[in-house]
Amino acid sequence: MTSEGDTFKTLWPKRRQLSHQDADIYQLFNIKKYHRRQLAVDIESLTISPASITGLIGPNGSGKSSLLRLLAFVDSPSEGKILFKGRKAVPYDDSVRFQVSLLPQEPYLLKRSVFDNIAYGLVLRGVNRSRHAEAVVDALSLVGLSAEEFAGRSWYQLSGGEAQRVALAARLVLQPSVLLLDEPTASVDAASAQQIKASALKACMKWGTTLIVASHDWQWVHEICNRVIPMFNGKVMENGRGNILLGPWRPEAEGYWEKVLADGQVIRVSEPFSRATAAVIPHDSISLSLDKPRLSPHEHFLQGVLTLLAFDPSTDSIQATIRIADLSFTLRIPTKHAQKMLLFPGQKVYITYPVSAVLWY
């Protein structure tokens, strides 16, 4: 058996060059998408660079899946246009059909064998049948499944995690320009999740695939993504590496507004334009301390427990997650600073932010 890289090379002899290296692979303009008259996606403008890894984070119902379906050209936007590699594209266009592939959160396997599931896309592309077997074996090994054991199985003879990996293999075998993953690890076991993450990343490294992933696994997202886009109510929050806080808000003294948390602490914010709107506290405006902070005027602090620490190589900083009542806050600390503080998960910490830093969406 040849190595998987060799087979893919022979399968796709004229490996595309990233001729659009500099241009954006996606450009979205004034995109609106309605589901049953409800606005699911509302994006003025968004660009994605080729060969990048982009993370979409946000609460359930924030429009991540709807956006991924638009980017996959599975759905058309209700308004606006999407350019793919500089050209306007709509579902079923030849320019996107063989380029973009979406892995939905819960995979659907065709009612046929694992082999035929993975070979389906190859058949559509007219790849010679004699090359299917090798490509399927390689794709299965890429997602950590042995072809001997799995290729002949039927669609109903797989566990949830195995099905998800087979579905991923069916995309990877196509070497798409863009791979869109919708919460790929949300409903699978830990081992499958690990494997799925590794395989997706490997594909990007190997073929320069542009990866866009919606995930609640923010630690992973921050670890691998060049760019993280928070979404809320169908909107993308540009330059927003921030903590999203949902209302309802109620007025407090001195023009401040507040929300009382489950443990009795209060989040203080500036005046919102509506009671139910979402506030964002940018990561950069939050500071962390181990002792109770001395507040400057117009600052506010909250007490919580440090739950996670993760290294973000792109900014050489440590992402810290702090649990406060039922909320999770994340913030970024320069690595050196974090080392001095001797942080460890489980620690009692304080976060401080200026009330004026709160942004509204």
Binding site: R69, A72, F73, V74, P91, Y92, R97, F98, V100, S101, L102, L103, P104, E106, P107, Y108, L110, K111, Y120, G121, L124, R125, A167, A170, R171, L174
Partner: protein, 229 residues
Amino acid sequence: MDYILNGLFQAIQLLIHGDAETYSAVAATLKVSTGSMIASILIGIPAGFLLGHHDFPGKKPVRTLVDTLMSLPTVLIGLLVYALLTHHGPLGHFGLLFTLEGVAIGQTLLALPVVIALTATSIESMDEKLRITLISLGADRKQVVLSTLWEARYGILAASMNAYGRVMTEVGIAMMVGGNIKWHTRTITTAIALETSKGQFVSGIALGLILMAIAAMVNISLSFLRNRS
């Protein structure tokens, strides 16, 4: 009870000795039911797909109408087709009354609502995720339709079997439109009706058993196909 056992015995004898009259009725039954099934599958599966896959204004009333037509009485279809095919009727000049073709037309009308409604139901029950998956893997519109039909194949097979059962066993249309003409349009069911009215229970039961044997053979071969796929 004796005549049931006798019927069984006689059925075997009729088949073994190649009774020409019995074989003529069996052949007529197979001809009309095959013809009407081919026609209702060719029309019914695409129509059922459209009904199940697409949203269009007035879809609900159409769906209700098709569901209602599933329980259309065969004598009413017989009456309708007779009225259309009779000499004075709008289609009288084709000379289809009292022919197997005429019966096949009536039985197509009988099977069509069943095929359409059950195909639509099985297409509707296919997941939105299927469409997303097919498009994501590079399918164009035509391939999406074909693959969706293939994914729904068990449901569609069940729909066809259901329709086949109705067509094989109905007597109203065959009697009224076909006229139960010996050697010509006499099917197994109309022959049974005749034998019974003559008081010939034994040969009636023999024909009934043959009918059931044909139905069993069709079912067994289809389930064999299903297991293989």
